[in-house]
């Protein structure tokens, strides 16, 4: 068996090796550790790109761990959707990693690099696995790593927010287990493809239980995706997190969305009796409300990082509007917009950091401060990120929104969807224009400039006395590199939209074609 046959496991193996090795070398040889971490991200990207390319022809690759045949062992499934998610995660990881290292955010606490790699391990595992319990395990890996990263740098606000974030997610994980228990009790399997086959054979007497399981499972995913009303954990958590981490977290809600896209058609598709498309009637209204709430948050938020956090919620809502259609076209739109919105969210957090780092005590709050270094450039970056986040042309958000608008047209409730998407875009634009014009255009009058009280400080910053607190005034533009890369990727996503949408379209078709997955996972029989 050639090494390429094992490529499917690479996105898991790479960070799983990098993390412990980085942990071992980090204390003595810091640069080696950082280099390792970088190399790992780069290798993950290479592996993901190879898988992306390999999946282009429509082959669904499976990888039976321990050589135990599916459905008895755990199986990894690489289809186009997985490949897209892996590529996205790896790209994002590089951006976040570059930013963390260049801004020295990785030095503001312990174990940034091991935790970061473990986070990637969790993400990649979740995107690869074809086993529902294994999905749970990787959820936990990515969550516990995210707790560590979220609290990186600490400080009271972060700690307080961390408590809430952690507890909500522990509750969510518990609910996941209940749903898993029900599904195993009913179907006797954990393999998703197998489960999809077995739900079709469940008797009428067990339909209620099956539907409960389906709804429970999807609401756990919705909690991760921060769908209203299960979104309340997100705004503060993301707003106070170290920006490089928040940028990486842009993909965390998408894990929830990914899971919905992965599980619902495969397990609760047409054949699932009472559970067939069980979450569908709630998904669209929830998505619409999420969109509005998210961008309303952008409209009223007073700091860039908060705006970014709300933008994440809003974009997830928009994304789910498309997902809720469950058609090839809508899923195409969803996948394209998923990639876009993840990068856009990351760009926003990074730009917020660029601003905060230059405005000292004013942080990234929308209050006029003194002029700061590279203000125009930062403003330009912000504008680009905001354009991306709101979905204005010329960046990919616009194409994404056009895709969604076109694909949902004519579906039930499409008028609401359109209104929500367009209205949310407008309020988002107004919100970003307001904060942007205050931060980048308005100068503080003298009264304001002297008024630098402690409450003003960006919550994300460390308390006094932390070792890296006293950094020199930013003279270099190195912290702009990561956001520029993010925006460049968004540009590439616009320019290559034809190719990207074609790939997404084929991925969408593959998602909805259960038979193909079943054949690939369980064999021809």
């Amino acid at each position: 068996m050639s090494l390429t046959a094992h490529l499917a496991i690479a996105p898991v193996v790479i960070p799983a090796l990098a993390a412990p090795i980085a942990l071992l070398v980090m204390r003595r040889r810091r640069h080696l550790g950082i280099g390792l971490s970088f190399a790992s991200c780069a290798l993950m990207l290479v592996a993901a790109l190879v898988l992306l390319n390999a999946s282009a022809d429509g082959t669904i690759r499976t990888y039976e761990l321990g050589d135990w045949p599916a459905p008895f062992g755990i199986v990894l499934v690489v289809d186009r959707l997985s490949a897209i998610m892996l590529t996205l995660a790896a790209s994002l990881s590089l951006i976040a990693m570059i930013h963390a290292v260049l801004t020295r955010a990785d030095r503001k606490g312990w174990h940034f690099h091991p935790l970061f790699q473990f986070q990637m391990l969790g993400l990649n595992g979740a995107f690869l696995t074809g086993d529902l319990f294994n999905l749970f395990v990787f959820f936990e890996v990515l969550l516990i790593a995210s707790y560590g990263l979220m609290l990186h740098g600490q400080g009271p606000v972060r700690l307080k927010a961390g408590v809430q974030y952690v507890i909500v997610n522990i509750v969510g994980s518990s609910l996941f287990l209940i749903a898993l228990g029900l599904l195993y009790a009913l179907t006797g399997t954990l393999n998703m493809a197998d489960m999809g086959l077995r739900v079709a054979e469940i008797g009428p007497d067990d339909q209620g239980l099956l539907r409960v399981a389906a709804l429970l499972l999807v609401s756990v995913f919705a909690l991760k995706a921060a769908v209203v009303p299960l979104h309340l954990w997100l705004p503060r958590t993301y707003a106070v997190t170290t920006p490089a981490v928040a940028a990486l977290f842009a993909i965390m809600t998408k894990v929830g969305v990914y899971s919905i896209i992965r599980v619902v058609p495969q397990v609760f598709g047409d054949g699932a009796g009472a559970a067939a498309w069980a979450p569908a009637p709630y998904l669209l209204p929830a998505a619409i409300i999420t969109t509005i709430v998210g961008f309303a948050g952008v409209f009223v938020a007073r700091t860039l990082s908060e705006q970014a956090a709300y933008a994440i919620i809003g974009s997830t809502g928009t994304l789910l509007i498309a997902v809720a259609g469950w058609q090839v076209e809508t899923l195409t739109a969803a996948l394209y917009y998923l990639v876009h919105s993840t990068l856009a969210g990351a760009a926003l957090f990074l730009v917020a950091d660029v601003v905060a780092r230059r405005r000292a005590s004013f942080g990234n709050s929308a209050s006029p401060g003194p002029a700061f270094a590279q203000r125009q450039l930062a403003g330009l970056l912000f504008m680009a990120a905001a354009i991306a986040a709101t979905g204005l042309p010329p960046l990919s958000g616009f194409i994404g929104k056009l895709l969604i608008l076109e694909s949902v047209a004519g579906l039930p409730g499409w008028g609401w969807s359109w209104a929500a998407i367009l209205a949310s875009t407008l309020i988002g634009v107004i919100g970003f224009a307001r904060t942007g014009s205050v931060i980048f255009w308005k100068d503080a009058d003298h009264k304001n400039a002297e008024h630098k009280d402690a409450g003003h400080q960006d919550a994300g910053h460390n308390d006094a006395g932390h070792r890296d607190e006293a950094e020199p005034v930013i003279a270099l533009r190195r912290d702009m590199i990561a956001p520029v890369i993010a925006i460049a990727l968004l540009t590439a996503l616009s320019v290559g939209a034809g190719w990207a949408t074609a790939y997404a379209g084929e991925a969408a078709a593959q998602i909805l074609d259960n038979n193909a997955t079943v054949r690939a996972v369980l064999g021809e029989g």
Binding site: L115, G148, L215, R236, L405, I430
Partner: protein, 950 residues
């Protein structure tokens, strides 16, 4: 040049130039202006080069697929309409670039200015030569964005920022509505290709969606072209530098709405709905704008309202749905572009040279600024529609067409109002020229400063005025063919012969025109009293209305968002549990089926019932003693014990072992934390809150318990675990199926699981390592023990017993580890047991004593464990098997007998190391915090002291 190349060059040139300017450095004023002007000139030349072919009836088009999934192609198309607009954009653009160079001061950020201006030029050009409506939308929104940047160019001015945001909100918002309209249009027409759409007028007008499409598109057009009631952003956009106003807010961007109306004229016009809406909006805007313009004092404000009025005129003409009106509109577009841009530039000159734009402070400037006076007077005459200028001709045509249209069944309505509007136009136009240049100087200060600018500055407006004049004298020669071909493009068929001439004989239109001039002069004469009357009236200030709407929206939404999103864990959890409970209920009710299944139950033994009672009682006790945290903890351990018993009873020995050992470690953790926390906190929630929570809790309990009951009373559905049972020994080499599952069948899960523990250990370390610093350190240093304590730290019996226990428990741990594959046990449980053995030493002999005897760091253990597990997994790759494939075999040694070696054991070593490392890490880090914090602080102080000394 080949046509595709020409088109692509045309549309990309401005962007390239913008980029060049942006990267060319900040102090290159002339270079910036030069690049911008050159870019515009080249573009203009390209347009001129194709003009002949286009006016000759050829449509130049090129298409490259971009996003086929949505029908978005890179499609460019130049027909006469596009040609005319492109010419205006580039021609006036060139003049504006030149003018700007002289207008802008030395310190201005010219790079940003010209880059934004070129960005706008590209976007605007894109709108008019897009061959795909989705492309058009992209450029449409880009003009809003670039206009935002340009209006806000003087960023330090509040009115600039506000004006920019307002313009963005209105035009950007309108653009979004337009998106909806265009998408529906394209979906209805079956294509987003402009030419296809233009040929689908019948289909679209027959569609039930037509009214929706129409209204949506019109909103887009009206917002962009500042039509009532969306007009108010335009006057505030005048905060932009004057060249910007001249370019965007008179000649080009505001015409985008008019352009789109013209572009879609064949598709949308001709219905009653269209005529009524477009005509009345245009009419109202034309009149209203003119009326307000009459009373403004700021030159640019006068011009802004006059622009609104003129745009209304154009919209109205297009709304008539009459071919000849369309011809009139086309001709007026050209006229207006010429005289209005000239006027704006002149306003800029006046501002530049006198330091004010307040018409009340100016007057008699003709003496000191003769050139400017001539330019403005001629342009104003054109605006007033006085002969012999082009404006006169187009106004005549307009008035003539009004006679053809009856609105609301009233044939006189449109002509009468149009005449009134024309009158007002004459009024404000004359006022502009007369009050500026004639009479006496009203304020000596600006007058004293005033003089004509240099040639560079007045050349551009002069050229435009010459065009405006020539358009009156030789309209057919200069504009005739263009107007005809453009009008044909608008109409989508043969345009009627326009007959552009100053003199059409005595007709009603001439009468109306004369009336307008006469009354207009009257208005100027009586302007003073009129102004006092006007200013005595209350005016609805659209800007403050907009601002206050936005502010109150902000306040309300903010209140809502803050109220609902203030970070409250309790709310988050309430929402979560409520959603779950509702969904469980929904699922059960909708799904149907019976609550109790058919599986026969197992009879409960007395000890089971006893244990059950214990568990229920202990749970109740936890709730009851909730705030007495220590006692609640004791009750919790009872529950843990009962659950371990339950696992024993229910054939799950591995789980019992796990439960017992995890329980011990958990209790230690909780006690360590509790020591530094309040032991008995005050009541937090009110009685109603507690009842609410209790209700939710009971419902949740019923739901989950009910689901468990339903599950337990059903027969299993041929679970995959029968395979595991069958293959455990033969395929996995172990008889403990649970362990074989953990280290073999589902070793990947276990890998993830140990990594979770390892990460938890690392994260805990990261979290606690900083405890000695900052607020936490201060709190720890000042921490007062809240209970009286015994002075004895290490009770002798305890210490001595743990010393004999250590080797014994370690031996037990090794045993549990080794036999885990075949009997209950395994790496995880063994690790906990071994960890507990060492924790006992910490507990009895203290942190320092034990820590000093520790040999391997926890970080190493965690890393080592993960690496061992990974290496085991990767090892199988060497043998051509998949990741984590296991191997085992039986060997026989003399005396020893048969024994088994399995790679799973190696994997289990990894499990052991990670679990041990993580558990030790968590407990160690959590113990002795206060003392360690004090010590760390002292060490820090020492270090600081040493650093301070030389």
């Amino acid at each position: 040049m080949a046509i595709p190349l020409t088109l692509y060059t045309l549309v990309s040139l401005p962007f390239v130039v913008a980029l060049l300017i942006a990267v060319s450095g900040t102090h290159q004023r002339s270079l910036h202006a030069g690049l911008a002007a050159a870019g515009s000139a080249i573009g203009f030349a390209l347009i001129v080069s194709v003009a002949g072919r286009v006016t000759g009836g050829e449509i130049l088009a090129v298409t490259t697929p971009w996003v086929p999934a949505i029908g978005l192609d890179i499609s460019l198309m130049i027909d006469p309409l596009g040609l005319m607009f492109a010419g205006l954009i580039l021609g006036i653009g060139l003049l504006v670039m030149i003018f700007s160079h002289f207008y802008l001061g030395k310190g201005e950020a010219t790079a940003r200015f010209y880059a934004s201006l070129m960005l706008f030029q590209g976007a605007m050009l894109g709108i008019v030569i897009s061959g795909n409506v989705l492309m058009l939308l992209i450029f449409w929104e880009l003009t809003s964005l670039s206009s935002f940047l340009l209006i806000g160019f003087w960023q330090h001015k509040a009115e600039a920022r506000q004006g920019a945001r307002m313009a963005l909100a209105i035009t950007g918002g309108g653009g979004l509505v337009l998106i909806a309209g265009m998408l529906l249009l394209g979906i209805t027409a079956g294509s987003f290709d402009l030419l296809t759409i233009l040929q689908s007028g019948d289909v679209i007008q027959a569609s039930p969606l037509y009214p929706v499409i129409l209204v949506l598109i019109l909103i887009g057009c009206f917002t962009k072209s500042a039509q009532f009631p969306f007009h108010f952003w335009l006057p505030h956009a005048m905060a932009a530098p004057t060249p910007v106003s001249a370019y965007l807010h008179s000649a080009t961007m505001v015409k985008a709405g008019v352009f789109l109306l013209a572009r879609l004229w064949p598709v949308l016009s001709g219905t009653d709905l269209y005529t009524i809406i477009v005509t009345s909006v245009g009419l109202i805007t034309m009149t209203f704008g003119a009326w307000v313009a009459l009373f403004r004092h700021d030159l640019k404000s006068i011009l802004a309202y006059s622009t609104i009025s003129q745009l209304g005129l154009l919209v109205m003409l297009l709304g008539f749905s009459i071919k000849m009106a369309a011809v009139a509109a086309v001709f007026h577009i050209i006229n207006h572009a010429a005289f209005k841009a000239a006027l704006f530039m002149s306003a800029g000159i006046v501002d530049h040279e006198t330091g004010t734009r307040d018409i009340r402070r100016l007057g008699g400037l003709a003496k000191v600024m003769p050139v400017t006076a001539i330019i403005v007077t001629l342009a104003a005459a054109a605006m007033a529609g006085l002969p012999p200028l082009g404006g006169f001709i187009s106004k005549e045509m307009m008035l003539d067409e009004t006679l053809e249209v009856g609105l609301f069944g009233l044939p006189w309505l449109v002509p009468v109002i149009a005449t009134i509007a024309a009158t007002l136009s004459v009024g404000y136009s004359l006022r502009l020229a007369v009050h500026l240049f004639f009479g006496s100087a009203r304020d000596p200060e600006p007058y004293a400063r005033a003089h004509d600018p240099g040639f560079g500055m007045w050349a551009s407006p002069a050229l435009l005025v010459i065009i405006a004049v020539l358009l009156g004298f030789a309209p057919m020669l200069l504009a005739g063919p263009l107007v005809v071909s453009v009008a044909s493009a608008v109409i989508g068929g043969e345009a009627p012969e326009p007959g552009l001439a100053l003199w059409h004989g005595v007709n009603l239109a001439l009468g109306m025109s004369l009336f307008a001039v006469a009354i207009g002069v009257l208005l100027l004469w009586r302007h003073g009293p009129l102004l006092r009357w006007y200013e005595a009236m209350r005016h609805l200030d659209a800007k403050s209305l907009f601002q206050s709407t936005l502010t109150s929206a902000d306040t309300v939404v903010r209140k809502l968002i803050v109220a609902t999103h203030s970070p409250s864990l309790q709310r988050m959890l309430l929402a979560t549990f409520a959603v779950i409970v509702l969904l469980i209920i929904e699922g059960a009710l909708t799904g149907g089926g019976s609550f109790t299944g058919t599986r026969a139950g197992l009879a409960a033994s007395p000890v089971a019932i006893g244990a059950w009672l214990l568990l229920i009682a202990a749970t109740g006790a936890v709730i009851y003693a909730e705030r007495q945290r220590f006692i609640a903890l004791i009750y919790i351990s009872v529950i843990g014990l009962i659950i371990a018993l339950a696992f024993v009873h229910l054939s799950a020995p591995d789980l019992a072992l796990t439960q017992i050992s995890v329980e011990v470690v958990t209790i230690l953790l909780l006690l360590l934390a509790l020591n530094l926390m309040p032991k008995k906190p005050p009541v937090l929630s009110s009685a109603p809150q507690r009842w609410r929570d209790a209700l939710l809790a009971i419902t949740g309990g019923l739901g989950v318990g009910g689901a468990a009951w339903a599950m337990l009373t059903r027969n299993p559905n041929d679970p995959i675990s029968s395979y595991h049972l069958a293959k455990s020994y033969s395929g996995g080499g172990g008889t403990n199926v649970v362990n074989v599952t953990l280290v073999d069948f589902r070793a990947f899960d276990t890998l993830g699981e140990i990594i979770v523990l390892g990460i938890a250990g690392l994260a805990i370390f990261a979290l606690l390592d900083t405890t000695s610093r900052g607020a936490a350190g201060a709190r720890l240093r000042s921490w007062q023990e809240d209970m009286p304590h015994s002075p004895e730290r290490h009770p002798v019996m305890f210490v001595m017993s743990t010393r004999i226990l250590l080797p014994l428990v370690l031996a037990a741990g090794i045993y549990i580890f080794l036999r885990g594959h075949n009997e209950p046990g395994g790496g995880f449980i063994a690790a906990l047991v071994v960890a507990i053995a060492f924790l006992l030493q910490y507990l009895a002999s203290g942190f320092d004593w034990t820590d000093a005897r520790r040999r391997v760091g926890e970080h190493f253990m965690i890393a080592f464990g993960v690496l061992v597990a990974m290496a085991t997994g990767l090892g199988s790759l060497v043998f051509g098997a998949n990741f984590l494939a296991s191997a085992f075999d039986y060997y026989t040694l003399p005396l020893v007998g048969e024994f088994e070696l399995a790679t799973a054991l190696l994997f289990d070593i990894g499990v052991f190391a990670v679990v041990f490392g993580a558990v030790m890490m968590a407990l160690q880090q959590l113990s002795h915090i206060a003392q360690r914090a004090a010590r760390a602080h002292a060490a820090q102080l020492d270090a600081d002291g040493e650093e301070g000394s030389p």
